[in-house]
Structures are given as C-alpha cells and as structure tokens.
Symmetry: C2
Subunit: 235 residues, 2 copies
DNA sequence: GCAACGTTTCGTCGAATGTTGAAACATTGG
DNA sequence: CCAATGTTTCAACATTCGACGAAACGTTGC
C-alpha cells in the first residue's frame, strides 16, 4: 500500500461520525423538530418522525451519545433538546449546500422564513441580523471574539424601547455571535440571544407561526422595532 | 398513525442525503483531500483514502451524483474537485460542532491554520478576513447581498500594492462573501477570491505549507501586506 | 400495592451499503 | 494496431443498520 494522506488523521472519522448521525431521515426529522429550541419527550419525537417508540429510542440514544442532543430527566418523561446552538447552526448550514434544486431549500424560497425565524432558541433571519446591527451601531455590545455582552449603552437602548426593566440583570448574561446563513451576517446567539428572544415573546413583539420556525411581528412589535430604527415592512 | 410533523416535508430527506454522503470515512477523506481546492484524479484519491480504485470509483460516483463533487474529463484521467465553495464551507463547519473534545478540532488548536489557510480555492483565516476588511475599508468592494465586485477604488488600491497590473481585467470577475468559521467574519470567496489568491501565489506573497491548507507569508508578502496596512506578525 | 403510562432493552428480520478482484472500457503513445 | 495506463462496471460477499413487537424497567397517581 502506498503512503496515504496523514495530514488529517482523525478529522475524517469525525466528519463521518457526524454524517452518520445525520444520514437517517428519522434522526433528521428529530433534529429538525428540535430546531425551534423546544424540549420534547421521546414519544412525541417518535410520533413526529413517524416511527415506533422503540425505534426512536435507539435513534435518541445515538444522537445523545454523539452529543448532538442533550436529555433532561423528569419523572417518567425524558425530554430531549439540541445539545447547543452550534448543533442548530450546523444543521441550518447543512441543508443549504449540496444536493438538489435550490428551490427545495425552505430558506431559499420562503420569504416568511427569510424575514424572521428562530435559530435554536434565538432570533434569526433579516430581523435577527438587523436587530443585532442596530444595537451594535449604538455601541450596545461589548464584543471580543465570538463572545458578546450587553454594554451600558446597550442596556440603556433596550430600556428606551421598553424591552428591559430597571430590575433586570442582564449584564452577566453571555452571548455569542452566530452566523446567519440566509443573510450571511451575524445575529445574536448564546444565552443573551435566547434571553432577548424570550423577552420579545413575553412583550408580545413577536409571535410564532404555527408549526414553523417563522415569526411574525405584532402591532406592538412593529412600533417597538420602529423605535429601534427598524421598519418591519422593509425587511 | 397520529399526525406527524408536516412543516418540513422534504428537508429531512435532504439532510439525510447529505449526511449519508458524509457518513463514510473514505468519502470524508476524499472530500478533505480536495478541501485545498486541488483537482485530483480518481486513482490518487483512492490512494489518499486508503481504498481500492474500484471502491473509490463507487464513492466518487455517489459524491458527484450528490453534487458535492464535480468532474473534469481529460483524456484517460478524470479529475475531481469540490462542486463549489459552499461545499467546502459546509465541511469546514461540520467538524466544528458535535462530537468529541473540542481539542480534536484542528482549527481550534493550530495557530498556523488560524492565521492563514485556504478555504477551497481562496484565502481564509485571520489573514483572509483582514485582507477583506482592508479592501472594504478603502471602498474597494461593491457589495450587494453576498455578491462582491471589485470597485474602481479597489482596483486602484491593488495596483498601488503591486497585485494588479494595468492590463488585468478583473472588473467583471464575480466574488462572494464567505463566512470564515474560525474568525466568524467574512472573507473574500467566489471567483474573485480565487483570482486574488492565485495572484498572491504568483507574486510570491504566500506559499503553501506542505500537506496542509496552512499558508506562510514570504518576505515579499510581509512587505506587501504591510503596504496594505496589515502586519503579518500581529495577525 | 397496583394499574396506567412512558421509555428502554432485546431478539429478529430484511434492506442497504462498503469492500474487493476480475473483467470491460477508454485513452494515450509508440 | 498494440501495449500500457487509468477508470469504471460487475458479481459476490460480509457487515452494518434500521425497523418492529414483546417484554422489562421506572415513575406517577389512585
């Protein structure tokens, strides 16, 4: 046997391992079902993937062993979730490249998804990117590498538009920059991103569309974003 | 059977299909071998992956059918290459998330790779991002979406530092913004990125390290980058 | 305790996939 | 035209992997 490429000794197995986890439609369905950041029990995931509970159990075991999923024990239920937002990002990226007509890609075609959607547990799409940019433009973020923290100015800005109260403690919440695959720019991820997104739901700025990751802005939200310098209708 | 998730009808199969292609170590090795943008004949890829030519042929067929690879017929040789830089990017992204200790990720640990490397056929890493930023800061790019073209000012800047000649016709070459996974910023991809990178090799600013995608700057290159406002040693 | 419920384990079946050598096909160069 | 070289096809084999039902395991609530 002639000498082979030794430059990437373990990476190939690493890639193959992740590929194996993604190579099954049932597992893909499970991952996609959790892409909105929800936490779901095994039986429900089985139903959503269209397979028997026992089959799902095997798949879930593989996915957790592979550290793509994490599990939360709660009595006779076992709730599964994506291990972290990197996994979500990876999956979002995956379906963009490669096979088939670009039309088969939901993010290429669906303007509703392009405008505003959740990526794992935080805001993505044109709106996600725009919000990130507006806050950053106001020096609202302390950035170092991919780490993000809300600055003094950022807190002030959020209070101005009514998204932050005086007794909220968000200074310490760590965020991360997250690449928005449709916009090819950054949006806010990490715990800070999740917090802000939760707040947008609480304050009723945004509402989830049924059975999609797409989001719509309420009238309150439109006004709020407008106060941030963003016009929903122009996104 | 209870109702299942109909929100993503075909995406799951799409993901599973790409996952299947990545799920084999031999195929992963083939893809990794082409990650530096090289074009290689089937036999060589077989050798690099450590498999028989007949086996490699089967894998290559799958990869081309899946549009992850493209093939260039040239006499009795068939040269394979990555289908496009999206595929390269997807693979680079893949190995970041998921299984195993982060230490097993080459881009996390290797400072040489972090500083300058090729992504498919163009420049990436800290240098790639910095070059993109410097040219952009000088209004050197016409940006629209992910499309990039070199502007008047950009041509002028490149001529100043000796990377562009008067008889070069680069106005029409289409570039694309490409997300740099280690830096979490943009660098220049597409045909324009490939052109610039080729030019950097031609002018001997950069040299490939043996058997890696990592790059080193020559003395000429250091001076050149310095003229662009970049200090190689500070990257 | 006991019944109901959710989840996992186990055994088995069938389909899909990777592997190879030998043979066929294609191209080049004498 | 023929030999050498590179690539693909073919047939056969071994292995892996997903699917399911039945049974075991664990938890909750009466």
């Amino acid at each position: 046997m002639l000498p082979m490429n030794t430059a990437t000794p373990q990476t190939r197995y690493h890639i193959a391992e992740i590929g194996s986890l993604l190579s099954d439609p049932a597992r893909a369905a499970i991952l996609l079902a959790l892409m909105d950041g929800t936490i779901r029990p095994a039986g429900e995931l089985a139903r959503m993937a269209g397979i028997a509970p026992s089959t799902a159990s095997a798949h879930l075991r593989k996915l957790t062993d592979g550290e793509l999923l994490a599990v939360i024990d709660q009595g006779r239920h076992r709730y599964y979730r994506l291990a972290n937002d990197r996994v979500a990002q990876m999956i979002e990226n995956l379906s963009v490249a490669g096979i088939g007509a670009p039309a088969s890609n939901p993010w290429r075609g669906d303007p509703v998804m392009l405008r505003a959607r959740t990526c794992y547990n935080h805001l993505a799409g044109a709106l996600g990117v725009a919000v990130f940019e507006k806050i950053r433009a106001a020096d609202g973020f302390a950035l170092s590498g991919e780490a993000v923290h809300l600055s003094e100015a950022g807190s002030r800005r959020l209070k101005q538009v009514g998204l932050l109260d005086n007794d909220d403690a968000v200074d310490g919440i760590p965020g991360r920059t997250c690449v928005d695959w449709t916009e090819r720019r950054f949006h806010l991820g990490g715990k800070l991103g999740a917090w802000l997104t939760t707040r947008l739901f609480e304050r009723e700025w945004l509402r989830r569309r049924t059975s999609t990751r797409a989001l719509t802005a309420t009238t309150v939200g439109r006004n709020g974003f407008s106060a941030l310098g963003l016009e929903w209708d122009r996104l």
